[in-house]
Subunit: 545 residues, 2 copies
């Protein structure tokens, strides 16, 4: 027997409708690529979104067609978030920081029909346009005065395109399972793979973002969205802001410390989300300007994800800003909320290192995300904070596979998605990442975390960068090899390095050898490319072998 | 094209699984009808819920069957919330305060197969048992030592029934539209009508309860659940507490001011929800015990619904408790969140009466509840804070009709549910109730709010209770008649009453006559029974007619 409640689909358009109806005048502030600070409000965003939806029809975009963006965070990108998905098409946010050949691959794989781009990327688009076979129309996200002088076929001006459209539009009542957006993961192995979100998964994830146990987003907030809108839907915050009608501030391409600080101050930001790299740039600005008093900003919370938060970063936000750090772990495949680091009432009595130890874990589970860690045979491991296992996750905003079945069937027998991460989970459900599964070193049946050893090696004053990889060993299967880039002007030797590590890690974790190189390989987005290192040292013979 | 996110149904069992997995040791405290304070935790509640689910099978309860409860708030009722709904049966919470003949009607209409009851209601059940044809098993919610000595066929003891069941149980993967619980409205007209909730509607409503713009429920909370679990799923809080793993405190039948105060103090309650009547009992206790300092309780928020909050109540919670009042409007048919009274950033500059005026409105819209006010012809009225209209609502946790099609098709052409309330909505989306539609007085095409005039009349020192009804008038269609119960020992005349009102309300709202009576008719739950008054004064001839 079914209940008798109203059968209303969960649709992204309902978010912008709510914001425009109940919070019409709440400001949406953008620093544009053109430089100026632009102001509109939720009513204005809905109007633009409806014009985008009408433009979709005018450009021949059918329901289910993909529409690409190469764009920073701005009200224009926000109008595309609502207008493209709301109309039944699929918003495909492309990461402009990828290598051009990856962008070429992704746009062709997605078969984007239209490509919207910020003028920052005009030259890139001019170069790629001949390769992007599916793209029928290119739209420069600017006004006529700032149109780039590039040779691209069917090039339109965003503001002109929209101004020509009616502001009347009735959102279609889509099936809530309809695809809404598409984002490719820029993995360190193989081709990028597309994660295809649905209206339902997006709305459910957005609801969870409001919870005080996650980001606690409310109408009282002024949100500075530093995390890019081309990263997993900017962690869902463009949707959450509309669901509660919060003020939204977007920095465009202006991510340097001074620009971010200025926006925080001028717009009275209460909550901001970003990756550690951006916050390091903010700290550099503060270091160079000791007269600036970040506590006066009144920022209440800083959301950090994408990479682990260091103790120094956490303490600086707490002490200098008076802000709470809300760390999280997730990935493109998890929408992205996986776990969120919020304390429990039982932690109220803790202080100092005991408290920090908990705060520096990636976080604990939230409703909607089932977690498990499993061994090589898929057997569940205990939640004792010690056992390492492959992290698998399940829930209504976790992917079931990749676009066009890339990578084949990915779920395990219980329907969980294998994240490729290795983690521990403690008895309170706090997750701590140990390593990427493919980077962990398997030594005689035990696992060694490459990340842990690297982080300690990087603490040596003579080390600029360090990587640990597993190298074949006749007895132990694999043993760790440490690869070091020396800091210019510093001296460090193999034995000095091993002595340094020897006093800080378990004996069996100690690398069997150290080699020095001039540089390490990285992906376009700055991740260490260990596949390349492993290929380079494939035949390396350890002194212990 | 559908998205590729995991197809996970939204099920109530997932809430208790989350709580037991991530917050196993968080306490669940109950004051039982037997008197003692009982302590368990989320792990214990899950265990009991699984035993309930196994008991359902043992008692021959099939998926979709209704299982009734006549019970106060306790861990036993909580175990039924999860165990009955989780197993695929329908939890039917019956309001024990109704007249016995209404309970008879409701249980027979629902065709409950099993009836669980607190020992408080043992005599009532003994009396009703012969009439409850569908009920095959009666279960007294107590242990063997406290079993009531009543003559009821197939009477079982709750703790014995559960102890005999395995604690192993795998929740079925139900369709999320499956009916989960049933609650009858005790209207002032006609027979009670059943609202049939689904797993989906319940989980979506629960997610919205976490939002800071509504009740902001988090794992850091200690929730005192004063609102009965037989009222619209106790406003959803038993589910929200599990979704975040909050500590939950339940008072059983002990709703007097001293008991509530003691629980608040002993359990360090941070948030409590209840109807105004319960808070008035708490205030009476405080009045009688001036040495008690409610500010020392540390209660942060008080949720109030079910009836409008008075200025005095709001100010007392703010000033004496240092607590924020979170008012809401909803009904059984809305799960119940309809609107919630939370301030907007623009109100930060307000103070005094200006601020109070906003706080005393029922609240503003939240995502998931579409609102409109319409005139007699169904035409939408403006949101200007002045126009009165019939309030219609739409959303995934709003009912589409009543159990067994009682009352027929109820939705309007746009799929909105007509609430039977008359309200204004202001430009910020704040709703203010004006009256029940059937009580509003239609005078020459304009509407007069009976509630407004009654509230003012009740301010007269000589008035114990007052009611306004519309009486037929040859020229104006209806004109108001004021019906007054005098306060013992006080004197008040017709002309004195009209003078009092005349200086406080618009001239055309002034009643055309005043009559004095010894008492006014009420429903079992204390609502003024205006249908009965209208029948009594059907042929009353106004002096102006």
């Amino acid at each position: 027997m079914f209940g008798l409640m109203q059968d209303r689909p969960l649709l992204i358009a309902s978010l912008i409708e709510h914001a425009a109806t109940f919070h019409p005048e709440t400001e949406i502030v953008s620093r544009l690529p053109e430089g100026a600070v632009h102001r509109t409000n939720w009513l204005g965003v809905r109007q633009r979104a409806k014009q985008v939806a009408n433009a979709m029809a005018a450009l021949g975009v059918q329901p289910g067609d993909r529409v690409g963006t190469l764009a920073w965070n701005s009200y224009r990108h926000l109008a595309l978030y609502y207008g493209v998905s709301g109309s039944g098409a699929v918003l495909h946010t492309v990461n402009p920081r990828l290598f051009p050949e990856q962008i070429d691959y992704i746009v062709n794989h997605a078969e984007d029909k239209v490509l919207f781009f910020d003028i920052t990327f005009a030259e890139l688009v001019e170069k790629l346009a001949p390769l992007l076979k599916s793209v029928k129309t290119f739209v420069a996200m600017t006004d006529r005065a700032h149109m780039p002088a590039i040779q691209v076929p069917n090039l339109l001006c965003f503001e002109e395109l929209l101004d020509a459209q009616s502001t009347d539009y009735t959102w279609p009542e889509l099936d809530e399972r309809t695809a809404s957006s598409l984002c490719y993961t820029s993995g360190t192995t193989g081709n990028p793979k597309g994660v295809l979100y649905s209206h339902r998964s997006t709305v459910l994830h957005t609801l969870m973002e409001l919870a005080p146990d996650t980001f606690g987003i409310s109408s009282g907030e002024t949100l500075l969205l530093v995390v890019p809108m081309f990263h997993a839907n900017a962690w869902g915050t463009p949707y959450a802001a509309a669901m509660v009608g919060a003020k939204l501030v977007m920095p465009g391409p202006h991510l340097d410390g001074k620009s971010i600080y200025t926006l925080m101050r001028d717009e009275k930001v209460t909550f901001s989300q970003g990756v550690p790299t951006v916050w390091l740039m903010l700290f550099q600005y503060l270091d160079a300007n000791p007269d600036v008093r970040p506590r006066e900003l009144g920022v209440k919370r800083i959301g950090i994800g994408g990479a682990a938060v260091s103790r120094a970063m956490l303490e600086r936000f707490e002490n200098d800003f008076g802000a709470e750090v809300v760390q999280g772990w997730g990935m493109t495949e998890t929408s992205p909320i996986g776990v969120i680091s919020k304390l429990l009432p039982k932690h109220a009595a803790l202080a100092g290192d005991e408290l920090l130890k908990i705060k520096l874990k990636q976080g604990r589970g939230v409703w909607g995300v089932d977690l498990k860690i499993v061994d090589e045979n898929g057997q569940a491991l205990p939640w004792d904070g010690k056992a390492f296992g492959h992290l698998h996750v399940r829930g209504p905003w976790i992917t079931s596979g990749y676009y066009k079945s890339e990578g084949g069937a990915v779920l395990d027998a219980e329907g969980f998605f294998p994240t490729g991460d290795v983690a521990t989970i403690d008895p309170d459900g706090y997750l701590q990442l140990v390593d990427r599964a493919k980077d962990v070193i398997k030594s005689g049946g035990e696992w060694i975390s490459s990340i842990d050893v690297e982080n300690i090696a990087m603490g040596h004053p003579g080390v600029a960068e360090a990587a640990i990889i597993g190298v074949a060993h006749p007895k132990w299967q694999e043993r760790p090899l440490l690869i070091v880039v020396k800091r210019p002007g510093q001296e460090v030797t193999r034995d000095g390095m091993l002595d340094y590590l020897g006093s800080r890690i378990a004996k069996w974790w100690l690398p069997d050898d150290v080699v020095f190189v001039d540089s390490l390989p990285h992906t376009a987005t700055g991740k260490l490319l260990k596949t390349s290192l492993r290929a380079q040292f494939k035949d390396y013979r350890l002194p212990t072998a």
